[in-house]
Every structure is written in C-alpha cells, then in structure tokens.
C-alpha cells in the first residue's frame, strides 16, 4: 500500500539544480562499453572522409592561395553560390516546410496509399543523380519543355541559362533534406502536445505557431543547414539545367570542375574554399542536440 506512506510532498524531491548536477555527472561516466572491434571500421570510416580533405590541404599551393581565391572568377562564383544557396534555402523553407507538415500530420483517410506515394516522390531527389534532376528540369522548363514552351511563347520567359535556373536546380535537390529533417522532428514531437494545446483552447493555427514550431525548431534548423550545404555543393543539376556562365550560373562547384581542366592549383584552392564554407555552415549552423549533448 503505497498510500500508507506519509509523503512529504514532492517539493523536496529532486529539484531542478540537483537534476542538472546529476546530468553533469553522467557526462563523466564511462557508460556501457563498446565492443572492441567497433573501433576499427569506425576509424576506417572516419579516414575515408577525413583523408581526402587532408589530401586537399596537402596539395594546396599556400603561397598562391590569396591570389587564387581573390581572382574575379572565384569571387564571382563565391558570391553567386552564397546568394543562390540563400535564396534556394528560403524557398525550401517556404515550400518544403509546409510539405513536411502535411506529410507528417495531414490525413487523407480515403486514400491511405496516397501519402506514401507523395512521400516517395518527394524523396526522389535524395537518391536520384542530380544530373538526372537537372535534365528533368530542362525537359520541364526548357524551350520544348512541358511548361517551358508555354512560358516562352506566352510570356517570353526562358529559364535555362539564368540564375533562376540555378536556384530551381538547388531547390530541387536540397528540398528533400529539409523535408526529411523536419518531418522527422514533427513525428518525434508527436501530436500529443498539439492535442493538449487544443484542450487549452488553442486553435490549430495557434497551436501550430506557439507549440509545434518551437518544438521542431532544432530539427528545422538542422534541416535548413543541410539544405544550405546541399545548395552550396550543387553541381550536376545546375550544369545540366542552368549551364555555366561566370556571374550568372557558374557557382563555386562548377568553377572548381572547370578550373580542374587547366589549373589544378586553382581548383584545389577553390575546393578548400568550399570546404571552409561548408565547415562554417555545419559548425555554426548545427543545432545543439545533434552532437549528443542535448
């Protein structure tokens, strides 16, 4: 009979600071050990990622670095990459965000398979070679494309070879990253908090704004970082759909690839620039929580 105990009330039990101390102590714990063999493939995996980057550093011509990185072509490509990645990431948020919410929360009771089909299509760019995506965009929006032809004849709008094409290509390949991260966060958060908000009188819109969004913010942030990084690195879809012209469509990865034809030192320098930008995005933009410290 638990009720027979004279509880002192729970105010005395485990107050906040004590719990925090407990958690700090956990961090020094040894935890449950790993199987020893795990370290070997883990180390190989790490080397497979780290060594090529190290190779870049090794290959780099450090004396020439400043002049290589400040050439008009390099600066123009960097500017274009940052600009288009920023715009594309925003588009991912504006369209991919609601899409993720619909996929995680929307109910189409009458067609249970529909959501699954939609999700499969949405995730396609993740597994598709980007160049295929670029060709697909070209066949949709190109001169003889399904939509492109109409746009061209009706409004004189022609998208390939423009900066808009770069942005569309980046958005195409990066949007699934945001959707996956956000949908995962939404599913983890679950609908219980929203249901609770409803019993407190919050309309669905208010519950979304004041409860759902703050809850998934870390997931959303990591999705945005991934999407931005993916945009910065986009190559295949861009070159297939947008072409390559300095200042208009030649982003940093395209310049790296082109530079590699004649000037390895320049290509390496630009590659390092991409590595640095990516690292900044990952380190600065990564929400706490993905590093296991919560």
């Amino acid at each position: 009979m638990t009720a027979a105990r004279t509880g002192l009330g729970d105010l005395e039990e485990a107050p906040g600071p004590g719990r925090r101390r407990e958690r700090a102590a956990d961090r020094h714990g040894t935890g449950v050990g790993l199987p020893a063999w795990m370290w070997f493939p883990a180390a190989l995996g790490f080397l497979l990622i780290a060594l090529p980057v190290f190779g870049l550093l090794w290959e780099a011509d450090w004396a020439e670095m400043p002049s290589l990185l400040t050439s008009p072509a390099a600066l123009s490509a960097l500017r274009l990459s940052l600009l288009t990645a920023a715009v594309s990431t925003t588009l991912c948020l504006l369209f991919g965000g609601p899409l993720a919410v619909v996929l995680a929360r929307g109910r189409i009771n009458r067609f249970p398979g529909l959501m699954r089909a939609i999700r499969s299509i949405v995730l396609l760019p993740l597994v598709l070679p980007p160049v295929v995506g670029g060709l697909a965009l070209l066949f949709l929006l190109g001169a003889r494309g399904l939509v492109g032809q109409g746009l061209n004849t009706a409004f004189g709008i022609f998208i390939p070879f423009t900066t808009i094409a770069v942005i569309l290509a980046q958005t195409f390949v990066a949007m699934p990253f945001l959707i996956v991260a956000l949908e995962g966060a939404l599913r983890t958060a679950g609908e219980r908090y929203e249901a609770t908000a409803a019993t407190l009188g919050a309309s669905p819109a208010l519950a979304f704004r004041r409860v759902t969004v703050p809850l998934v913010l870390p997931g959303l942030a990591s999705g945005l970082v991934l999407a931005f990084a993916r945009c910065m690195g986009e190559f295949g879809a861009t070159i297939a759909f947008a072409g390559s012209l300095e200042g208009t469509t030649r982003t940093l990865p395209l310049l790296v690839y082109l530079q590699g034809e004649t000037d390895i030192a320049g290509a390496v320098a630009l590659s390092l620039l991409l590595v640095v930008v990516s690292l900044i995005v990952i380190v600065v933009g990564r929400p706490r929580g993905t590093d296991g410290q919560r």
């Binding site: 009979m1 638990t2 009720a3 027979a4 105990r5 004279t6 509880g7 002192l8 009330g9 729970d10 105010l11 039990e13 485990a14 107050p15 906040g16 600071p17 719990r19 925090r20 219980r192 908090y193 249901a195 609770t196 908000a197 409803a198 019993t199 407190l200 009188g201 919050a202 309309s203 669905p204 208010l206 519950a207 004041r210 409860v211 703050p214 809850l215 913010l217």
Partner: protein, 370 residues
Amino acid sequence: MSPGEAGAGGVELTARLDRDGFALDLELSVGGGEVVAVLGPNGAGKSTLLGILSGLLRPDRGSLTVGGRTLLDTATGAFVPAHRRGVGLLAQEPLLFPHLSAQANVEFGPRAQGTPRREAQERARRLLDDVGVGALAARRPSQLSGGQQQRVALARALSPRPGLLLLDEPLAALDVDATPAMRTLLRRVIADSKQTALLVTHDALDALVLADRVVVLDRGRIVEQGPARDVLARPRSAFSARIAGLDLVPGVADGAGVRTADGVELQGKAVEVTDGEPAVAVFPPSAVSVHTVRPEGSPRNVFPVRIAALEPRGDTVRLRAGVAGAGPAWTDGLAADVTPAAVAELGVEPGQDVWFAVKATEVAVHGRQP
C-alpha cells in the same frame, strides 16, 4: 445530485459508437461541481469516452451538452471542435510544453482564449501558488521533478476555467512518493472547489478520495454506478470487486486515526488530512488477521465480527464479515484474506463470531468526500 439538477456546470452525454468490433453505448451525466470516477478494465471504453468528451472522437450517434451548451448532436450535425469546447484535460503525462516556463505554460490557455496578458499572468501566478509550485514559476519543465511537472500541468488545465475537466489517470505515472500529495492536492483544487470533473482511474483509492460518484464501465456499457464508498466497499461487478477489494472504514479524522460514527477509534497513519475532516481508514484484506479469542499485546485495531461467507480465491480464502451481535455496524462487508491452512486451524465457518485485527501501520487514513 440528480441529473435534472445538473445546473450550469452539468454534463449530459449520450453516445453510441461502433468501431472494429468495439461498441460503446452509454448515457452519462455529471452534475455541476460533481466529480465522477470512471473505473473499468482495459478496453472498457474509457479512452473512447474521453475522446468523445474532448472532441477528438465523433460518436456515430449521440449528444453532449456541457453547462447547457451543446457541443455535439449527431441529430442536428452540431460539432464543436476540441479547442472551443472548454473541456480541459489532465493526462497521465504532464505534457508541459518543453519550450515554455511553468508560468508561461499556465498562461497558455487564458492567452489562447484572448485573456489580456496581465490578467493571464495574474491568474497563472495564483494557480501555481495554489498547487504549491509558485516558487518554481520561472523554471522550464526539464528543471522540474515529475511531481512538480504534474502540479504545473494541473494548474495549466485549470487556467482556462474549463466547464468540464477530464482527469485521465493523473497519478498513474508519478513516483510512489509523489502520489499521496498529488492526490490530496487534486482533492483540494477539484473536489473541494466544485470543479466539474470526470476521473478515469484504475485505483480504487483515487475514486474514493476524489469522486462523489463512481461509474464502472465494461465493454462499452455502464455496469455499475453509485456513491464511491458504496461501489467500492460492496462491489457488485467482477471488475470493481477485483480492483476495489479494500477494507474501508469511514469516519472523521482524529489524530493519526479515524473515529467512526459509533465512537470507535481506528488507529492508522494519516495521509494529509486534518482533524475533524471526513476521512476513511483503508487497509488491504491481506493485512487482517483472524482470531477466535481476542488477541492482546502490540498496537492493533481489534474488532468483533461474525463470518458471513467464505470465498476461496486461489491460494487464499477471503472471509467476509457481517455484524456480530452487538459489534459495530461498520464491520459489515469487511474482508480478511487468510490461508486455507489457517481456515482449517481456526475451524471458521459462516455464522461464527471471530475477531479481526489489523496493525495500525497497515491502516492508511485518507480524507474523503462527505
């Protein structure tokens, strides 16, 4: 309180629902300010009932009014969505919004209803003080213990001033140490303050302490209902017998024990009750020892009973008591669980007068609904 007098805060529900082999068919009313406990085995339809009341589920046929306001009527197609029902919920898990402080959690409801910020803050502060966590208002849920979180959740559920508060096993997920205090708190802020409420629970004690009335649900139907003490002390359905099965002696709190109407003092351990309050002594039948002569010594509660029945229950035998000649009337229905060997040794049989003894340490004294 009869349904007719439900008044402004009353709840009237009729609902029929058929889903995947499960059928719910019930008629339920809760009077204004009344607390009704719903007991029932898993799958009895308790969650379905809560879903219908809170607006997460639509019955096939039925109607619901809370405080005279129609929230649901399948005949006219009326359906008020969850957020406009004024039906609050305190669940097993506190489900505090993790990104908001305790204070902001409690302000959430009033703010959602459009209450001015200043007033919402004021109300939240008062409620947090009421539930005893006023000093922790600025903390995030992660900085609160489970019991503290549930207190904040209670304040939050009350803050929009719901016409009906649903309590879905509100104590089930708490540490055993935190349970008695929370139960007492619920009694104070819900039962005593006449908050119309429906309590779903597995625990007979919760029903006893918090509810005016108990409804036993089984396979979608009400199989038993009545005042909490009657249903729990003299269960008629198999389920209520199983979960209740406790020995209950009502009276008035007196020191650490209970004084019954006929002046007998039962020693026990008081759990957050004050002298003079209506209280009930609670002990499990397994704590009762049976003697053919009055036992002496150690601090025990001893009272004479006449054996009314022997009920074999697997490896024990339950001796059901009746009133022994001049013995106290409240002994009627008390139970003692003894081993078959003890039954043989004592040679008890129905109609025989014996003594029931229970140690004070086994008797818990709780406040109760008068």
